[in-house]
């Protein structure tokens, strides 16, 4: 199958997930993504290089499970930017790249002499995408973040929780994933703009802005109606904020810490719910319309939980789905990864080959293309794994030059 982006090259300084996730997506469609890493600190710009989980007892910068997951299909080179020769080689690489992508703190690339103006001097139509928590401009440009901080400041942590409890937040870096998606979108849009106009540009991506753009209806409820999400009894994010639905929530099932989620979208769903459960309370007048169910939602939730608690969560979900009502077990990792026929049929967990770790399953993509689908076969690169391919094959250095540059600590 043809690869959609095999004509593109990305000079990649990204790390963690917020950056690496963006170039990962592009690499899966054939873009040549060249990760630049520091030989002096063994690539530890990206702390995930050595972080758990691990496939076995081996530890170190070639064994971080998250790093492998986030860097599939990329090339990896080492380059010491403290040296003049290292900087010269980077200039050569930029000159043959379409995009320079990074998610350092604001100012790092400038201090190395590779801010947007310098990059543009090397290649007029370069696309430079910087991604950090607060962007490169504005009062907080020097503030530091990681996923949970981005989520806190952008309103997403607050938006996730139950009444009379502290914020539950997101139990993972939702905004590292999503910041990466916005970074990928920005890169692709900038490439489209270049195709049309011949112009490159700088994209100043601040992850907190991307996060804040994901709470729109709640913001408008405030700016139009003056109703803040921070108010008594709010938020209850297991209920449906917009549109209104009831019952709508996550309810306990028979075994400890097992749960089922269900939604009655409309009167048809509610009538079907009454038929499936056969519970007398579903026929009570106080629940006969949406308004009544919303007014009595606390009581309704208790009654629904009383019914769901008598069965297994997959059983409840199957009963309700049989009647066309949205319902699902709250799936544990094993259940959705190894036991869900849908993720299996989709091919969602491809196995890649990592030089040192061997075969490892990774996140696939939730899309399929009819002509140029994605591929994931090669694991994340080991340190300098592709120095010969890139410095030799692409930039034309001889094997002797590469050997002596490695000796000198440039590579």
């Amino acid at each position: 199958m043809a690869q959609a982006l095999s004509h593109l090259r990305i000079c990649d300084f990204t790390g963690q997930l917020a950056g690496a996730g963006a170039t990962r997506f592009l690499a899966a469609f054939g873009a040549q993504v060249i990760r630049i890493e520091d030989p002096v600190n063994q690539g530890r710009w990206d702390i995930l290089r050595g972080m758990p989980p691990y496939v076995d007892e081996r530890r170190g910068v070639e064994f971080g499970g998250p790093f492998n997951n986030h860097n599939v299909e990329k090339l990896g080179v080492t380059l010491n930017l403290r040296t003049d020769r290292g900087k010269e080689l980077l200039r050569q690489l930029v000159a043959v790249s379409d995009v320079v992508a990074e998610n350092f703190s604001a100012g790092v690339m400038e201090r190395w002499g590779f801010g947007y103006e310098e990059l543009q001097a090397i290649r007029e139509d370069i696309i430079y995408v910087s991604n950090c928590g607060f962007g490169h401009r504005g009062p907080y440009r020097d503030f530091k973040t990681w996923g949970p901080i981005v989520q806190a400041v952008s309103g997403l942590t607050f938006s996730s929780g139950l009444p009379d409890q502290p914020p539950a937040g997101w139990g993972y870096s939702y905004m590292d994933h999503t910041g990466a998606y916005y970074m990928a979108i920005a890169i692709l849009m900038a490439l489209r703009h270049r195709n049309r106009t011949g112009e490159g540009q700088w994209v100043d991506l601040g992850c907190t802005e991307a996060g804040a753009s994901l709470t729109g209806p709640a913001m408008l409820d405030y700016t139009v109606n003056g109703r803040p999400l921070r108010r008594q009894g709010s938020p209850n994010s297991n209920r449906s904020q917009f549109p209104a639905m009831a019952p709508h929530g996550i309810y306990p099932s028979q075994e400890e810490d097992t749960w089922v989620a269900l939604s009655c979208r409309d009167e048809r769903d509610w009538e079907a719910f009454g038929e499936v459960t056969g519970e007398a309370w579903t026929q009570e007048g106080r629940f006969s319309d949406l308004r009544g169910r919303l007014v009595g939602e606390d009581a309704l939730d208790e009654l629904v939980a009383g019914w769901t608690r008598t069965r297994g969560n997959f059983e409840v979900a199957a009963l309700l789905q049989g009647a066309g009502i949205p319902a699902t077990a709250v799936q544990r990792p094993q259940e959705r990864i190894d036991q869900d026929p849908n993720t299996e049929a989709w091919g969602l967990w491809p196995t890649v080959q990592h030089r040192d770790m061997g075969d490892v399953r990774v996140d696939g993509l939730p899309v399929h293309f009819s002509e140029t689908d994605w591929t994931m076969e090669r694991g994340g690169p080991c340190l300098g794994e592709h120095n010969e391919e890139v410095f030799g094959g692409l930039l034309g250095l001889s094997a002797d030059e590469i050997a002596s540059l490695t000796e000198e600590g440039v590579l």
Partner: protein, 416 residues
Amino acid sequence: MTDPGMPQGPGALEGLRVVELCDELGMFAGKLLADMGAEVVKVEPPEGDRTRTYAPFVDDEPGPERSLYFWHYNTSKAGVTLDLGEAEGREQLRALIDRADILLQSGEAGADLDYEALRETNAGLIMVTLSPFGRGMPREDEASTDLTILAGGGPAWNCGYDDHSLPPVRGGGNQGYHTASHFAVMSALVALLYRDESGRGQHIDVNAHAAANVTTEAGTYTWLVAQETVQRQTGRHAGVNPSMPSQVECADGRYVNTGIPPRRPEAFGAVCEWLRTAGLAEEFLEFPLLEEGMRRERFDMSMLQQDEELMAIFGAGRAAMNFLAERLTAYEFFTGGQQRGFQIGIIYSPEEVLEDPHFIERGFPVEVEHPELERTVTYPGAPYQLLGSPWRIRRRAPLLGEDNERVFAELSGDAE
């Protein structure tokens, strides 16, 4: 309408023609394209899109032009109405698709459109179908909402509280729909760049359940790599092993995320200075331990378990951050800590973001005219700043059938 300091000029997707036939699963994808300059034509049934009946409403009064949900997700789009139950409506839809670069489809309307048939008259068409479980997949007939996508697809398992008698939590804001829409846009753009090279269009299948599954970070790869199961914890990453609490309620009742406590001598120095500046050094009884942390040349982390004083120093560092958080307002703690190098965050509610000086200076809150209501409304702004081809809300969401005349006239113009 736009601040003079904000980037001007055409958006990156100027000239791109998009037809959107989407329910709430995919309509955010249309907004993302439209706010970057694409000409997105949203097709609604004559009675209006179902989401026009979704709360919240202007002044809490329902009405087809009053849904703030509809307003948010349909900025910058043109709106036309077509009765797809009638032959004429289907013909006009076909004519629209024939001149489009991208067709976005989710939900019932347009579910019967066949890509192979459409490409006969528009070979370069990129069609993106979003669905809860993917077309032809084993669970494709299951009913779903944002809640069930996030609960069945993995995110909810990771979110909630240390107390596991409380249910897992679905994060708010219909993020399951958003994630599917993000992948729809990323994919449409990949296909567009391929078409720029090859001239060839294609069909793309977007699966919302799969999108949630691959947007759960360690929840997924901890199982894939090590077959271990993460457990939810209040306000922090789900983990195989419990971690220390990281949320504190501040003096003004708002919470902060206290991040990673001091771990280096300079960080202990910064905490000492912060306590003194805040006039709290005397009151914090473990202050001498912080000073000891500041005086040590370096910490030997490998000796942590044996070095009781170092353990005490680290404990004091964490306690000092909590102590400061409880005595300052959330905003004082956030900015005071960040200015001293600590990665900490204020836990804003969404509306509070619009009033933060950083977001205001970067132009995040934007003003959009609603002339028929004689109102100017503040909307959330750019998720990214493409400085050479900027994001911009071109117009408020379309009124029902607002662009029928213009769009259908253009169609007949094309036909002539």
